[in-house]
């Protein structure tokens, strides 16, 4: 029989957070459950973070006017049917992050000096959230990249998480049941772990009989850890045995090399499906244009080359096509979240999506005046929040605000100095 506990805004002790053990918040949110209870418990808040390696050409993106009555720029024209669902923020940066392409490493972490040779990163906000919230879903988080070794997500020890670079492979992992042999292997692996833990716990108990008081305490710690891990493994085993959800769409296949925008769109689709089926609540996606020329008519250069336009008019036009397409993909993604039900709300209301870049100007490698777009998450949207590029609040203030929207008791993150980003309000 399943035990169901609900997300409460319980305070999470700092000790628990630091130890990374967390506490059980809730079992997977299932639509069926909401009807069974009188009070309508709030569905969990999801996070979808997207980073664009080549940034956006600022004059085409940032409106001249601040506030709710901004006039749509060329890039924002295609998003006007979702105008009320997103906010465009300009002027922000991360303090002490002025390191060209390396600035991307700090986008979701806020760690200073990412360009320095012995830089050690800190945890990205998605992984901080995944440590807490991720336990309750089959996959703690999904981390995508359109190309290669690049990742925008970092663990607690500052290690970049190897991303998934194939939408097709991700789709298979999430939705296609393994062969009976594969499922059996995964279950066997988890059961082996449980068997091991059970035996070593026994060893610890036997050792305890023979040792001094101080040593007994340490063995107790060991014993407790074993039991805790066993519980987690039981959950893993249950997941392993469950059939994967059926998304009701045809199997996704990868596009050819160089079709980065298409790849990007497919990854957004897989992300959406994963969130809809509650396989995960945390997704990051790193858009890295490769240097293969896409097949799109009108483009004869690859993204990287275009982003280093040096103000060449021809290149700027092609760049505009590529970048507008990216934003259109995102716009479509937002629309689909609007149209999805999640409990009694729209999925968009229970999902925060942020789309930004680590540089404000990829041609000059300037890491100030970063483009940041946010949708969903029960924030007040439909406006351009314009911060002064010369002295904006730290971007990490936004991360703190978002982590709190996810129900986490976090007062500081990265180089934040406040718990909300000035200008961004919740509904």
């Amino acid at each position: 029989m399943k035990n169901v506990t609900f997300t409460t805004q319980r305070s999470i002790s700092r000790r628990a957070m630091l130890k990374g053990t967390g506490i059980t918040l809730a079992l997977p949110w299932l639509d069926a459950m909401s009807a069974a209870f009188a009070a309508d418990p709030k569905p969990p808040m999801r996070f979808i973070g997207i980073l664009n390696y080549f940034s956006f050409h600022a004059p085409n993106l940032f409106p001249k006017e601040a506030g709710a009555n901004y006039i749509a720029t060329p890039y924002l024209e295609g998003l006007q049917s979702q105008r009320k669902e997103f906010t465009i923020i300009s002027g922000l940066n991360h303090p002490e992050v002025r390191d060209g392409h390396a600035s991307d490493k700090s986008f979701f972490t806020g760690a200073p000096h990412p360009g320095s040779p012995s830089f050690k990163n800190t945890v990205s906000l998605d992984q901080l959230a995944a440590d807490q919230i991720g336990r309750d879903t089959r996959h703690a988080s999904l981390n995508f990249s359109t190309s290669g070794a690049y990742s925008c997500s970092y663990t607690r020890s500052g290690v970049a998480i190897p991303p998934e670079t194939s939408a097709a492979r991700a789709f298979a992992k999430l939705f296609i049941d393994g062969t009976p042999a594969e499922i059996a292997e995964e279950v066997a692996r988890v059961q082996e772990g449980q068997s091991i833990l059970d035996r070593v716990a026994g060893e610890a108990k036997r050792l305890q009989r023979d040792v001094s008081a101080g040593d007994r305490d340490k063995l107790d710690q060991y014993f407790t850890s074993v039991r805790e891990l066993e519980q987690r493994m039981v959950r893993s085993e249950n997941f392993a045995k469950q059939p994967k959800p059926k998304p009701g769409v045809p199997v996704i296949k990868d596009p050819g090399p160089g079709e980065d925008t298409t790849r990007f769109g497919l990854m957004l689709e897989v992300a959406l499906l994963a969130v809809q089926t509650d396989l995960t609540r945390i997704v990051t996606l790193y858009y890295v244009g490769t240097s293969k020329t896409p097949s799109k008519p009108g483009t004869s250069f690859a993204y990287h080359d275009l982003s280093h336009h040096g103000q060449d008019a021809g290149k700027l036009n092609q760049l505009a096509i590529l970048e507008r397409d990216l934003l259109l993909e995102w716009g479509g993604f937002i629309q689909r979240m609007k149209d999805s039900r999640d409990g009694t709300s729209r999925l968009l209301d229970n999902t925060m999506s942020v789309f930004g870049a680590g540089m404000g100007n990829a041609s000059s490698h300037d890491s100030t005046n970063l483009p940041v777009l946010i949708a969903g998450g029960r924030f007040k949207h439909g406006q351009h929040i314009a911060h002064d590029p010369k002295s904006p609040p730290p971007l990490s203030n936004l991360w703190v605000q978002m982590l709190q929207q996810m129900g986490m008791e976090v007062g500081k993150f990265g180089t934040s100095n406040k718990e909300t980003l000035a200008g961004l309000e919740t509904v």
């Binding site: 130890k19 070593v200 001094s212």
Partner: protein, 816 residues
């Protein structure tokens, strides 16, 4: 005079004290009553201490700490404060003797019944080394594991090393990875040697102009990698990736330096000096390119002749070789080291690998013996192999009987083997293969507390426990076969054998773990990367310098240890271990090349000893500014062995003024003039100020550097770079007065004052050695051991090697 306190409430007779509670109280009361209660009673409670309420409950760690502090302060003469009346000699000596005996007896009793050391888990370094040595692998497991807790700066203290579910989850994962890495699944890969060069490299940048912008050519027509303006060199060897990833490869590179006179980045000065030596950087890098490099190594290239450089590394998937120019080597102290226009002309690169000593590799042989390898699926073309057995139970038992004693670092019983065997049987019954089932049992062993913790029982350590302690102390890994054999023969505890083994182990290359880990803890070199000197204020700081600084301190320590030099050298020495880069940084002439070597210092040179080495000066600063308080605390704790009390909670940290308007001396002045602060600062400030002439990179300075306030500020041209960002700030004034009143005018005079008491240095190092080698911090009963060691070492002028041997021969090391 305060009211007499009811003696029976003062003491709980919990402990087996040598005297009865009444006797005890009687002996302490005269002191307390006449000389302490005035300030330390319920009303005044100076320093937060109310002695009238202080009960004797040493089982409570905090209570024990308070009583120890009371003892120490009186013993050192710090309490009563100097301004107060001195207690008569018999009162004072009775008080001290009584309290000393109580504390000592309590501590000793606890040690005898429970031991000094709490069940001590292997820390990350020890875990990885142990697994690597056991299985003959070289897998990067360290980052998988959570960071270790520390105590007193040491990361191998049993009481501070906790274990959580996260640890166990990672241990399972790590064991899985390690066992898979050690397991052979392919036929022996051919070790090939290929020769390639950069002309074969391709980039995925299509734009035709790009290649020309990145590289150039040498006069003899070879490709030259160069600094390309702001984008840095493109040193990745894109044409090659490891045929077998995660294996070791040996690279030989034939290259020479070149200054590109015609390139866009060459400057006027460069053209005059095309014969500059250039530092070559060799590393691994990501491919496709991210610009990140790993395992950086630096060599010096000549501009006139090709030299061969060798570099060996484990190459993971997605990485390739990186070769690039790094910086020029200035010939004179005021010549510039620059990067514009420097090139590395690479003639060829030879790559040998994957390298392996034997096949199947050592780890595989340990795990599976000589059991045959057969194709996993003969019907398929794939070459995947796996181990099979015709008599699984017998084979598993046999192999476990060999593996378990190695893993557990002691002989095992038949029951222990049987426990693991049941897992093999169970797994096979569930349908798993023999090799999988066997690996499950190995995983179990590697997650057992018998593997993860040192097994030590109160009293004298048995030989196997002694072997482990010695091995983890000197090599940060499990005992080797020789040590293990001596333990089995029960000979290791014999003093002569213990001494001989210590000597053998110190002579081994594995002893570099001792140097690294001990210095990492003792001098906090572990945190060398914790701060980045501000690039505007300290533009001459870079990675090659930092690497050199760490090597300097490690090699210096090795020299003291290997030649048994006196601990006086901690403070001042007549030699230093330098390479050209360090000599340049310190302003010492005549040192050439990237190799660290012993250099005699001229008399009066301020660079002798640890405390004026770059690495030490860097870790005791914060990257932007130095603080005499931080450096003072560092010296008091690590060099003099008298750590200061923590700062009071309501005092804010000082904001360094990088505009340079006020100096830190002026800001700290307040402390000297307030009685409540003076107590600690009279001791903290002197060493800190003595070192103020050294900036955060360890460079000597006579003036502070500051950020210019406006465009009008006169900006200094930094020798050694092109850079002019900071202004010359206020002058440094290092002069000060020691706590005991002796004045000094600079670091040299300060050093002489400390050198007057070498036994204090010896005592401090001894305590640190005890902490490192036992995995527990100093306790009260250990003091007599340390004192005896220092006393005996006086005759050899407190040689470092002598102290080390003394510690290992002492009761704190040979007992739990």
């Amino acid at each position: 005079m305060k009211s007499a306190v009811n003696i029976t409430t003062l003491f709980c007779a919990v402990v087996l004290a040598s005297a009865s509670a009444a006797e005890l109280g009687g002996k302490l009361e005269p002191m307390f009553d006449q000389h302490c209660y005035d300030c330390h009673d319920a009303d005044s409670k100076k320093g937060g201490l109310d002695l009238t309420e202080l009960k004797w409950k040493p089982d409570d760690a905090e209570n024990l700490q308070q009583w120890t502090k009371v003892f120490d302060k009186v013993e050192r003469g710090e309490m009563p404060p100097k301004k107060k009346e001195r207690p008569p000699a018999e009162v004072s000596s009775t008080f001290l003797k009584t309290l000393h005996d109580e504390l000592h007896t309590f501590s000793r009793h606890k040690q005898e019944s429970e031991g000094r050391v709490v069940y001590r888990r292997l820390n990350r370094t020890e875990y990885v080394n142990t697994i690597d040595d056991l299985l003959g692998i070289d897998t990067p497991l360290r980052d998988l594991l959570p960071e270790d807790g520390t105590a007193g700066g040491f990361d191998n203290i049993g009481a501070a090393l906790n274990l959580s579910a996260v640890h166990l989850e990672r241990y399972l994962q790590a064991a899985d990875l390690a066992l898979k890495e050690a397991t052979v699944t392919t036929p022996e890969p051919e070790t090939k040697k290929i020769r390639t060069d950069y002309n074969e490299t391709w980039h995925d940048w299509n734009a035709p102009g790009f290649q020309n912008g990145v590289w150039t050519h040498s006069p003899e027509g070879l490709l030259a990698i160069r600094w390309n303006g702001g984008n840095g060199p493109h040193g990745e060897l894109g044409a090659w990736s490891p045929p077998v990833p995660d294996a070791r490869y040996r690279f030989r590179i034939r290259a020479r330096a070149m200054i590109d006179k015609e390139g866009p980045n060459a400057k006027a000065d460069d053209k005059k000096r095309p014969d500059r030596h250039i530092v070559l950087k060799v590393a691994l890098a990501d491919w496709p390119r991210t610009g990140l490099t790993f395992g950086n190594t630096y060599f010096e290239m000549s501009p006139t002749e090709f030299r061969e450089f060798e570099y060996e590394a484990r190459v993971p998937q997605g990485k390739t070789l990186w070769v690039s120019p790094y910086r020029t080597v200035p010939e004179t102290p005021d010549e510039r080291a620059m990067v514009g226009g420097i090139c590395a002309v690479v003639e060829w690169i030879e790559i040998e690998g994957p390298l392996h000593e034997q096949w199947p590799q050592r780890g595989h042989q340990l795990l599976y013996g000589n059991l045959p390898l057969q194709p996993a699926n003969p019907k398929l073309a794939t070459k995947d192999l796996r181990v099979v057995s015709s008599q699984p139970e017998a084979d598993a038992r046999r192999l476990l009987a060999v593996f378990l004693p190695k893993a557990f670092r002691r002989p095992v019983t038949d029951e222990e083997v049987a426990e693991h065997l049941t897992l093999v049987t169970e797994q096979m019954q569930k349908g798993r293969r023999f090799d999988e089932a066997l690996r499950a049992a190995y995983k179990m062993a590697l997650c057992s507390p018998k593997f993860l913790f040192l097994q030590e029982k109160p009293g004298p350590l048995d030989d196997h426990a002694l072997a482990s302690r010695l091995s983890y102390g000197l090599w940060s890994t499990a005992p080797d076969d020789e040590l293990d054999a001596l333990a089995t023969q029960k000979k290791l505890h014999e003093p002569a054998t213990l001494r001989a083994q210590t000597e053998r182990m110190l002579a081994s290359p594995k002893a570099k773990c001792f140097t690294q880990n001990f210095l990492g803890s003792w001098l906090n070199l572990r945190d060398i990367d914790f701060t980045q000197p501000d690039t505007k204020l300290y533009p001459e700081f870079e990675q090659y310098l930092q690497q050199s600084m760490v090597s300097e301190t490690e090699r210096f320590f090795d020299e003291l240890l290997n030649r048994n030099l006196s601990v006086r050298n901690i403070v001042q020495s007549d030699f230093a271990m330098l390479n050209e880069r360090l000599a340049e940084h310190y302003g010492i002439a005549g040192v050439k090349g990237e190799q660290i070597r012993k250099v005699s210092l001229t008399p009066g040179s301020r660079r002798g000893g640890f405390i004026t080495q770059g690495a030490v000066l860097k870790v005791s600063a914060n990257g932007t500014s130095t603080s005499p308080v931080v450096r003072g605390a560092y010296v008091l704790d690590r060099i003099l062995g008298t750590p200061p009390d923590p700062p009071p909670k309501n005092v804010a940290a000082i904001e360094p003024d990088i505009r340079g308007a006020t100096t830190i001396r002026e800001q700290l002045d307040k402390h000297r003039n307030q009685q409540a602060c003076a107590g600690c600062h009279a001791k903290l400030d002197p060493p800190g100020f003595a070192l103020e002439n050294f900036d955060v990179t360890g460079r000597w300075r006579t003036n502070y550097r500051a950020i210019p306030d406006s465009a009008k500020d006169k900006v200094v041209n930094v020798p050694g770079t092109d850079v002019r960002f900071y202004i010359q700030g206020r002058p440094v004034d290092p002069s000060f007065i020691m706590a005991d009143g002796r004045p000094f005018k600079d670091v040299d005079e300060f050093k002489q004052l400390i050198l007057a008491q070498p036994e204090q240095l010896a005592h401090c190092v001894t305590e640190k050695l005890i902490t490192h080698f036992t995995g527990a911090q100093m306790q009260f009963a250990d003091r007599e051991v340390a004192e005896a060691i220092v006393h005996r070492a006086a005759s050899s002028d407190y040689g470092l090697r002598t102290l080390l041997h003394e510690v290992i021969q002492s009761r704190v090391f040979t007992h739990k």
